[in-house]
């Protein structure tokens, strides 16, 4: 007894200690953006050198080294490449050497040695010619060398071609130097090859996975991060003495698959995920989160490289890959007391998950607005339901988001609870007339005449069939669809058809057909549902992707070997291609449903609404307004127009105009000949796209106008119940009627509950 007492006492004391410690540790993180003691303020600098591509960037102290490629138009459209040394403190650049002298030799990676000079690997492609001088083969050799950072001279060149393993095409993916000046070369196959200071091979070490990153820590050890065999990400030291990888370093790579690692200046390693920047201390195994990229107006997706400067600032080089004109930006982030930074009105943006388009838009908004600042809270951790539960809980507390991302939630439910604000009055107040927008698309987010959400861009999900087979129509009921298929060719409905996909097609956008929300009656035991079950059961459980495809998709469609094709239309060019693919007029019949409105609207880059309980509605509206502003809508017009249609009529017209504008080239006789704008392909089919005709544009317009409903606004619960239970029938364990009975039973509860 005495022992137990002591034990309990000790345990209690220990736990109390832990409790207090962990409780306090967390308290600091609490409290959102405004409660933070320090913030990182971005400062943008133009790179002192202009180049189109920066490659092999490596950082050491306050310097970075990289090869810059510049497209030299006046010199016959060739890339010119140089090796640069860049002083980040002074923002000065020094060209160390030109690399384009030998065109088939390229610098593939480099690292900075202890003495401050560079260690680099050159890749040398040589054509092998036979005795007649004709090229019969090519081979690649790898050279390891040192490059002086004072004059750019190359020394100690060593051929290491064979040293990276058997493969003829071995290459060096990452290069690192440790504090002993040993050189670590990582090939693309999980192998790490270590060379001594005098470039003699020391050992080969193999990681059992694809190496994602190799980094030298501040202490001078080299670490690799790789995707272990089924065990997630691993972060291990490359132990040259033991000729193997060390133990997994816990706490650095857990969960952050997108993390990239750089040598730290104050702690071992600087970790940048697409979300935030942290410092990791290897000896204590602790991670210190510095800041979220988003809070510093930086798009974490675009960060190429980042590091710490000796003056304590963080720097990063970003490149916006999505932009039409991608350019590199150098950003310095200075840590400042939150109180010193100009206060902006804070707007909370709540999203289960933040899409990249909206993320970009938020960063742009924050950069340009001096009045408001959007902070983002994302709820999704690993599973949808937990994230949703926390989101819901927040809606009822004081931390209700001002802007609500509707991209992955069912807006109807929230609108009817009064969570969302009607946006029409705001439009009116800002002098935006709804007639300027595609009203039927706006209406997709309407309920009882109120507008609860807005999407800047959309595309259409639909199903196509030959007009000669089903006639011109924009929708059909489930029984019409089943009749049609059974009359024609019940075997071949869709390409890659499986039980699940067919069933999904029939039910997913059609659930209201079986549920009468007025009376609360369900009709899953009815003939139609059972017929659907039986119909779907005829298809294989899973499409056998290994089977040989004798005929391509377009050929099958043309020869009536397939009846329907599910696709989405997000541009006029896509419309043109679909018509071409069938080789004859196409009917956009869409998904079966009771109202015969088969074509469905899908937001192309997310959708947002305003929280009805928000205290910053004006700021929230400013952001929402920017999504439908003329300027932004016009920026969505693009030559290929393949992301979706803008929602503003004037922008859509501009898009159409662009699509209809022919492109010409001058032939040898000096005459203007129309040339193709681009070329599209799908499966076996490819097609050159020329300027669209008025008829085609009208077709797209008609298609857009035929849409009314959002796609997939069904509670997953219902779909889960149906798929879960229907499996018993598909496996032949139960009759269709019994299965339908169970489905009816379970869904009935759902329906009753929601009445």
């Amino acid at each position: 007894m005495e022992k137990l007492k002591k034990g309990l006492g000790a345990a209690a004391g220990l736990m109390l200690l832990i409790a207090v410690l962990s409780g306090c540790g967390k308290e600091e993180k609490q409290g959102g953006q405004s409660g933070k003691e320090f913030v990182y303020v971005p400062e943008y600098a133009n790179l002192a050198v202009s180049c189109d591509y920066m490659n092999s960037i490596t950082a050491a102290g306050d310097y970075i080294y990289f090869t810059g490629d510049t497209y030299a138009e006046e010199e016959g459209g060739e890339y010119r490449s140089s090796l640069y040394q860049y002083n980040l403190l002074e923002n000065q650049v020094k060209e160390l050497m030109k690399l384009d002298e030998e065109s088939n030799k390229s610098l593939s990676s480099m690292a900075v040695a202890q003495d401050g000079n560079l260690v680099a690997v050159f890749n040398n492609y040589e054509d092998v010619t036979d005795e007649n001088g004709e090229v019969i083969d090519s081979k690649s050799t790898l050279e390891l060398c040192r490059i002086s950072t004072t004059d750019g001279s190359v020394s100690d060149t060593q051929d290491i071609t064979g040293a990276l393993g058997e493969s003829e095409w071995a290459y060096v993916q990452y290069l690192c130097v440790d504090n002993q000046d040993n050189i670590y070369a990582c090939d693309g196959d999980g192998g790490i090859h270590v060379f001594s200071k005098d470039m003699q091979k020391l050992c080969d070490i193999k990681a059992d996975g694809w190496i994602n990153s190799m980094v030298t820590s501040r202490e001078g050890d080299v670490y690799v991060q790789y995707y272990g065999n089924g065990s997630g990400t691993e972060f291990r030291k490359v132990d040259v003495a033991a000729k193997k990888l060390g133990d997994n370093v816990a706490g650095i790579s857990d969960g952050s698959f997108g993390g990239i690692y750089f040598t730290g200046a104050t702690k071992s390693i600087l970790v940048s995920s697409n979300d935030q920047v942290s410092l990791f201390d290897i000896s204590s195994g602790t991670m210190e989160d510095l800041f979220k990229w988003l809070d510093a107006d930086v798009n974490g997706d675009n960060v190429n490289i980042a590091g710490e400067l000796s003056d304590g600032r963080i720097w990063a080089i970003t490149r916006d890959y999505g932009a039409e004109e991608a350019k590199y930006e150098l950003i310095y982030l200075t840590r400042k007391k939150a109180s010193e930074v100009k206060e902006k009105e804070e707007i909370l943006y709540g999203a289960l998950w933040l899409g990249s388009d909206l993320r970009k838009k938020i960063i742009d908004f924050n950069k340009t607005s001096d009045q408001y600042r959007i902070t983002v809270k994302t709820y999704m951790t690993d599973d949808y339901e937990t994230g949703l539960a926390q989101f819901n809980a927040d809606l009822t507390t004081g931390s209700c988001p001002d802007i609500i991302d509707l991209s992955s939630i069912d807006f109807h439910q929230y609108a009817s609870k009064g969570v969302l604000e009607d946006l029409y009055p705001y439009m009116e107040k800002s002098g935006i007339r709804k007639e300027e927008y595609l009203e039927n698309v706006l209406k997709a987010f309407e309920q009882d005449g109120k507008l609860y959400g807005i999407m800047p861009q959309f595309y259409i999900t639909t199903t196509l069939a030959k007009a000669s087979l089903i006639g011109e129509r924009n929708g059909w009921t489930l029984s019409e669809m089943l009749d049609f298929v059974e009359e024609n060719d019940p075997e071949n409905v869709f390409d890659y058809a499986s039980r699940a996909s067919i069933f999904y097609y029939c039910i997913y956008n059609n659930i209201d057909e079986f549920i009468d929300w007025e009376t609360g009656e369900c009709s899953f035991e009815g003939e139609e549902f059972i017929r659907t079950l039986e119909f779907a059961a005829k298809f294989p459980e899973e499409y056998d992707y290994n089977q040989e495809r004798e005929e391509g998709l377009s050929s099958k469609l043309r020869n009536n070997k397939l009846l329907l094709m599910q696709t989405s239309i997000s541009s006029v060019q896509e419309y043109q291609m679909m018509n071409g693919m069938f080789g004859e007029p196409v009917s956009f019949v869409g998904y079966p449903n009771g109202e015969k409105k088969g074509n469905l609207i899908q937001p192309a880059s997310g959708s947002v609404g305003i929280g009805a309980k928000s205290k910053h509605k004006d700021g929230a509206w400013k952001f929402v307004e920017s999504l439908i502003s003329e300027e932004f809508q016009d920026s969505l017009v693009s030559e290929h127009g393949n992301y979706g249609f803008p929602i503003k009529k004037s922008a859509l017209e501009k898009q159409f105009e662009l699509d209809m504008k022919p492109e010409y080239y001058e032939d040898e006789n000096g005459e203007q000949v129309e040339q193709m704008k681009t070329s599209w392909g799908y499966d076996d089919f490819s097609m050159d796209i020329y300027a669209a005709t008025q008829e085609e544009v009208d077709g797209v317009k008609a298609l857009i106008e035929s849409c009314e409903k959002l796609s997939g606004n069904v509670d997953n619960q219902l779909i889960n119940i149906i798929t879960e239970e229907s499996e018993a029938f598909f496996k032949g364990q139960k009759s269709a009627a019994d299965t339908a009975g169970v489905i009816q039973n379970r869904i009935q509860i759902y329906v009753n509950e929601n009445r």
Partner: protein
């Protein structure tokens, strides 16, 4: 005034003072718990009450008892209430009776008593998740039980998707809770004064008479206790059902907690709260009745 009572009075007031002081100290002991309960149980319950009289957690418009009427008329709620009631009314008495029988079996001089006791307690140790895995294996359409049924030439039963579903959860509940209940009864049985039974035996009372008139009487408060514990545990079965069949099980397995959980997930706090309060009222009544019955039966054996 009353001269001769003066001395007494002084004495009494002295002890009164002490008692009063003691009372305050005793209240002090109660304080931490009372404060915590107030903050983490009563206050939340008041919030529940608040939600039950507003239209929804966002708008918070006062609607009197509309929610109660609405929920009471809701078919899903009725179903859930019916199921919960049937379940509790079958499972709890069964748990009490069966565990009492088990306890009496173990009380008779069978060998390996303590081993059996440990075995019966073992379900408490198994993590819920693996309980659910094993229950799936047993009661799945292709599971073990149906294998056995087909072996004996019977038809398969879809245990989890038919009216048998209640049976499955009752079995699950009994399996989990019999052991603990049994222990409670065993200790109660062993604490019945022997001499009373001896006297009864000497007076040629039948074992049944001994059981009915003596043992049961002495155990009345244990029975109440076991009933309350079983009632608590009968509400905890929800977790297993939930892990077995998710938010919307077959209707015979659909419990009040499903209703609350689902309405909670859909931000219909007002429905959840109204249901919770109705449940609480029923609970007060049931517990009240149990207390009264116990008072009636057990009063002559209490000190």
């Amino acid at each position: 005034m009353h001269f001769f009572t003066g001395g007494k009075k002084v004495k009494k007031s002295g002890s009164n003072q002490r008692t009063r002081r003691g009372k305050w100290i005793a209240r002090g002991y109660l304080f931490p718990s009372a404060a915590g309960v107030l903050l983490f149980f009563v206050l939340p319950f008041l919030i529940v009450f608040f939600y039950s009289v507003v239209d929804n957690p966002i708008n918070r418009q006062f609607v009197f008892f509309d929610n109660f009427v609405m929920v009471f008329q809701n078919a899903a709620f009725q179903q859930a209430a019916k199921n919960t009631l049937t379940f509790s009314l079958t499972a709890v008495p069964l748990a009490v009776v069966l565990s009492l029988l088990l306890a009496m079996t173990l009380e008779s001089k069978i060998p390996f008593k303590s081993q059996f006791r440990t075995f019966f307690l073992s379900p408490m140790m198994v993590p819920i998740a693996s309980v659910v895995l094993i229950w799936q294996v047993l009661f799945h359409y292709n599971g073990m039980i149906n294998e056995i049924l087909t072996f004996f030439g019977r038809d398969k039963i879809d245990w989890l998707n038919s009216s048998y579903a209640q049976v499955v959860i009752v079995v699950l509940f009994l399996w989990k809770n019999l052991g603990y209940n049994m222990i409670l009864f065993m200790s109660a049985l062993s604490s019945i004064p022997r001499d009373i039974i001896e006297v009864a035996v000497l007076e040629s009372a039948t074992p049944f008479q001994i059981f009915w008139h003596i043992k049961l009487r002495y155990m009345s408060s244990t029975i109440l206790f076991v009933t309350i514990m079983s009632l608590i545990n009968s509400f905890k079965v929800f977790r297993e059902i939930y892990l077995l069949k998710g938010d919307y099980p077959y209707d015979t397995m659909y419990m009040l907690q499903h209703f609350m959980n689902n309405t909670f997930n859909r931000l219909d706090y007002q429905k959840m709260s109204a249901a919770a309060i109705m449940m609480a009222i029923v609970m007060v009544i049931i517990i009240g009745i149990l207390f009264l019955t116990e008072n009636y039966f057990g009063k002559d054996v209490e000190e």
